[in-house]
């Protein structure tokens, strides 16, 4: 799980142009979206959808559950562990 979180943070930094951040600076439990935490927006959410599809072979089947899954690095890692196909 720790390795997966590290991998995820690296993918986020790389894809979302957060080059001035290091994986250590991203708190596992902090909200990714909204004013607190990382403050990502809806275009960033789309990039994360693409990371899930490309790297882990996962599609979000229920749009209504997306917000909970995308809450933090922790919730994303849990979802990936439970659903990954690669």
């Amino acid at each position: 799980m720790e390795q997966l979180k590290q991998e995820l943070k690296e993918a986020l930094i790389d894809t979302l142009n957060l080059e001035d951040m290091t994986p250590q600076e991203i708190d596992d439990a902090a909200p990714l979206f909204g004013d607190e935490g990382l403050g990502l927006d809806s275009i960033d959410a789309l990039e994360i959808i693409l990371i899930l599809e490309r790297n882990y072979g996962i599609r979000i089947e229920k749009p209504s559950e997306g917000k909970e899954i995308f809450y933090s690095v922790d919730t994303l890692a849990q979802f990936i562990t439970a659903n990954r196909t690669k």
């Binding site: 809806s42 275009i43 693409l50 749009p63 209504s64």
Partner: protein
């Protein structure tokens, strides 16, 4: 590239629901022509009593179209009249008066249908010109697989009107609300299911990411969302405009966008797409300058 900007549309459109109800009664009772006749009076009222919209329309005529003052006055009437006419036509067609109109599907209609049938998701990008909704009844079964992305404030307004007075257009609405990300998941889900997602490529609300590009000779801001989405998801993109022609006629215009080259870096692909959109939009406005219905200072960057 992307930045927050002040010249955004305020999220609301003028013309209370009383006005809509009145016109619906007029069309049903006395017919479309009577409604057009009454519209002339409404236009005369709107020019002085909707000063912000009148100013925007005037500046568009003077600065973008380079009309002289006299021609610009005539333009104000034509611009408002056409706008009202598209609203009347929308109501008339929704209440079953399709036979009163002629529709021309343009040169790229077959290619467009091929794309819709090609077992992949498609993104359509329109604009606040002409009357895009007028096409909805013709898309029948395709309509059920269309998802229209619109700002929440806009959706709340038409939702009530749709429910009270008319049948729905057959399509589904995805309201955009930045506070919850549901729209992103719904858009991605729809395209995964090989359905169609429609955006308006010319308006944004406060705080939205924008792209700047020259449009009718001067830099303007466009919403970054539709172009970023389309270039990241790598699905075919069609620009779609429905224009009111003379003599109870509408023309549908489909422009199939070229896919941006894959090796282009992020930050370039959406610009390639926006450039194509602006080209298509400028070609439409050259023929129909009076069907530009963005009543705010569009060029304030």
């Amino acid at each position: 590239m992307a930045q927050t900007n002040e010249s955004e549309w305020k999220g609301k459109t003028r013309g209370g629901s009383f006005g809509y109800r009145f016109f619906i009664l007029l069309i049903k009772g006395l017919g479309i022509r009577a409604a057009y006749g009454f519209l002339c009076l409404v236009v005369v009222y709107f020019i002085p009593f909707a000063p912000k919209a009148t100013k925007a329309s005037w500046q568009y005529a003077r600065r973008r179209l380079h009309y002289n003052r006299l021609r610009s006055i005539g333009f104000l009437f034509r611009n408002y009249y056409r706008f009202g006419q598209t609203l009347i036509d929308k109501v008339a067609i929704r209440s079953g008066k399709t036979k009163d109109y002629h529709f021309d599907f343009g040169t790229h209609y077959d290619e467009f249908l091929q794309l819709l049938n090609s077992e992949q998701g498609v993104i359509l990008i329109g604009a606040h010109v002409g009357n895009w909704e007028i096409g909805a009844p013709f898309f029948d079964d395709y309509g059920k697989r269309m998802h229209i992305v619109m700002y929440d404030a806009e959706y709340q307004k038409i939702k009530e009107i749709l429910e009270q007075n008319m049948e729905g257009g057959g399509y589904q609405v995805i309201p955009v609300n930045e506070d919850n990300l549901t729209h992103v998941f719904r858009i991605s889900d729809a395209l995964n299911r090989k359905e169609y997602v429609c955006f308006q490529g010319d308006r944004f609300t406060q705080g939205a990411q924008t792209l700047q590009a020259p449009f009718l000779g001067t830099n303007a801001s466009f919403p970054a969302g539709p172009y970023l989405l389309a270039s990241r998801l790598r699905v075919p993109v069609v620009f779609y405009f429905a224009l009111r022609e003379k003599g109870m006629r509408y023309s549908f215009n489909f422009v199939l966008a070229d896919a941006p080259p894959a090796e282009n870096k992020r930050g370039k692909q959406e610009t390639v797409l926006l450039t194509q959109y602006i080209e298509a939009l400028e070609a439409i406005l050259e023929k129909h300058p009076e069907q530009w219905f963005n009543y705010y200072d569009f060029w304030k960057v």
